[in-house]
């Protein structure tokens, strides 16, 4: 009798343990395991598809070709850097010698003009997208707040926004290029023209979602909060700073995340189209190159572009979580 009871208890506890393991499997292992399964299946299908596509530039690159290219691109970058530092060292030595011979000689230093590596292009694209994005935020957020606060301003500006919003920034590109050439004239420009072109394209792409989301966030502010501000007779500027801006932060971030995602896509296309330095140019140059390695290098770029886009959104999400009071809106 007692042994039966004991058994039952033992049975119960093992059942519980089993349940517990299953539960912890569901909550902890699944979020790791399922993506791994997904990726493995994807790699398999990719390999399968790649091996059956024969292009005039050779076989379509599979995962292993991409891994090889990643190594190659990284090595090329290192080689290029070594070349550069060797160049500067030689130049320095040469100058030192000439100064030693003739103390009045003013040494000349020339910059190394090597080919930009894949890593250089990544850095260029990142700097461009961030600069354009920040410029857009500086312009769009105050404008969005003004539009959100004033019905009249909203009515006046809304048609313009509605018309320009659906225009792909790539359509602006020729106009931007010509305008920049005409207006941005300086003997020793601080920024390259190509950088300014790409930056303005990114800004044009970011500005509309940011203006719209900011103004909607401001206009739909909780009536009670607005009333609190009225009862306290907060001056206009303090009202904006203490009530409007914090209240609109979740929508402002929605707009920023949306526009950064689109900006990253558009920038690559713009760089391809305008031959401006960056990842887009890398892709285009490789395509024009047409070597047997080109496709696998392009495929590597595609994956890196995707990964960077993902990281950019993640970073924005982290910032939003840190800045916004509404933690639930900072989810994926």
């Amino acid at each position: 009798m007692t042994s039966v009871v004991k058994n039952q208890i033992v049975g119960d506890s093992t059942m519980n343990q089993l349940k517990q393991t299953l539960l912890s499997f569901n909550t902890r292992a699944k979020p790791v395991l399922l993506p791994v399964v997904g990726i493995v299946i994807f790699l398999f299908l990719w390999t399968l598809a790649a091996s059956s596509i024969n292009t005039s530039l050779g076989k379509f690159p599979g995962p292993s070709a991409v891994v090889t290219q990643m190594g190659n691109l990284y090595n090329e970058h290192n080689t290029e850097r070594e070349k550069a530092s060797a160049f500067y060292q030689r130049q320095e030595e040469r100058n030192a010698k000439r100064v030693a011979k003739d103390p009045t000689y003013v040494p000349k230093t020339r910059a190394y003009t090597g080919k930009e590596t894949f890593l250089d292009q990544i850095v260029t694209s990142l700097i461009t997208v961030m600069s354009g994005f920040i410029l857009a935020a500086i312009l769009a957020i105050p404008l969005g707040i003004a539009i959100g606060l004033s019905k009249n301003l909203n009515t006046a500006i809304n048609p313009i926004i509605q018309i320009f919003k659906p225009v792909s920034p790539l359509a602006w590109l020729p106009l931007v290029t010509m305008a920049v050439s005409a207006l941005y004239v300086s003997d020793d420009p601080f920024f390259a023209k190509s950088f300014v072109n790409s930056l303005i394209t990114v800004t044009l792409c970011c500005i509309w979602p940011m203006v719209i989301n900011t103004s909607v966030g401001v206009a739909s502010i909780n009536q009670d909060w607005d009333n609190v501000s009225k009862v306290l007779r907060l001056p206009k500027l303090k009202h904006i700073q203490k009530i409007v801006l914090p209240a609109a932060i979740p929508s402002i971030f929605t707009g920023m995340r949306m526009s950064l995602g689109v900006a990253w896509m558009v920038l690559i296309a713009a760089e391809m189209l305008a031959q401006n330095p960056g990842l887009g140019k890398f892709v285009w140059d490789e395509f024009q190159n047409g070597s047997s390695e080109s496709l696998s290098r392009i495929m590597t770029a595609v994956i890196v572009i995707g990964f960077i886009g993902f990281l950019l959104d993640r970073a924005m999400q982290k910032i939003q979580y840190f800045v916004s009071w509404d933690k639930s809106s900072a989810k994926l």
């Binding site: 909780n222 909060w225 609190v228 009225k230 009862v231 306290l232 007779r233 907060l234 209240a247």
Partner: protein, 278 residues
């Protein structure tokens, strides 16, 4: 004592897409300093509208509101409002919510350390000193309402306006909040207008109960003086004949004289059916 707040024959007409809607018609009420007034009436009759006119958030179409014989034209901290849904700013802690009000109202009148003491004093008054630096999302509904009251009290208003302050709370928390409010009222003797739809709450807290007729064109129906001695105790009062008399007067007004039209029409429905059968 003389009148502090004079709600003088106000009409409120809202322009709507279907034409003008007269919410209030000739609402007239004089309130003395230190009085606790409850405004009771069926939902949708126009209680909040009265309060919003007094707060200055709405402008009356006709008539007006005088505070100390000066006409009210805009909202201001001397007529602090406790809103139904606490309306705390969720990005500020309890302390910061009260601080925002204190910093604005006492800008040039208090030193920073005096402000700090005054903020803490008001938070203690509503028994919330244990959650001073918590965010509104981290405390319960009753606690939020307490901070909302602390914020309003910290403005040292001449009139405290409360729109169903305990309406969203469960019965136990509500009773607790009512006791707290009575305790604070004993100490500060504020002039208060409180909207409620709870008959017991009205009788327990008020010096006068103002009962409003149903809208549209709602107005003051009856005014009931509550002369029960203070401090009041809800358990002792439950058996008090005067308390129960007052309570049934309010109930009679609400459920007999001002019975909601909807209840009558539902009762009529079976009758018409009977005639059809006949």
């Amino acid at each position: 004592m003389s009148t502090l707040l004079n709600i003088s024959k106000i009409d409120m007409v809202f322009p709507t897409p279907k034409g003008d809607f007269t919410a209030l018609k000739n609402v007239d009420l004089q309130i003395k300093k230190g009085e606790f007034i409850s405004l009771i009436g069926h939902s949708g009759c126009g209680k909040s509208t009265v309060l919003n006119v007094v707060a200055g958030l709405y402008q009356a179409t006709k008539g007006g509101v005088l505070l100390n014989n000066k006409e009210v034209t805009e909202p201001g901290p001397e007529r602090a409002v406790v809103f139904q849904n606490h309306s705390l700013l969720p990005w500020l802690t309890c302390y910061q919510n009260v601080e925002l009000a204190v910093k604005e109202v006492f800008k040039n009148k208090m030193s920073p350390s005096e402000m700090k003491d005054w903020i803490n004093h008001n938070i203690q008054l509503v028994h919330m000193d244990h959650a001073t630096h918590k965010l509104p999302d981290e405390i319960s509904g009753g606690m939020k309402q307490r901070i909302g009251i602390a914020r309003a009290l910290a403005m040292q208003p001449e009139v405290l306006l409360m729109d169903e302050p305990f309406g969203a709370l469960d019965a136990l928390t509500r009773a607790h909040m009512q006791d707290s409010l009575m305790e604070i009222q004993d100490e500060l003797n504020n002039t208060v207008i409180m909207i409620t739809h709870d008959v017991d709450e009205a009788v327990l807290l008020s010096d006068r109960i103002v009962m409003m007729t149903n809208g549209p064109a709602a107005t003051v129906g009856e005014i009931l003086d509550v002369n029960l001695p203070r401090p009041r105790d809800r358990i002792a009062l439950a058996k008090d004949p005067e308390y129960n008399q007052l309570r049934s007067s309010v109930l009679e007004f609400l459920y007999e004289k001002q019975r909601k039209v909807e209840t009558i029409s539902t009762k009529k429905t079976p009758k018409t059916k009977v005639t059809e059968v006949a």
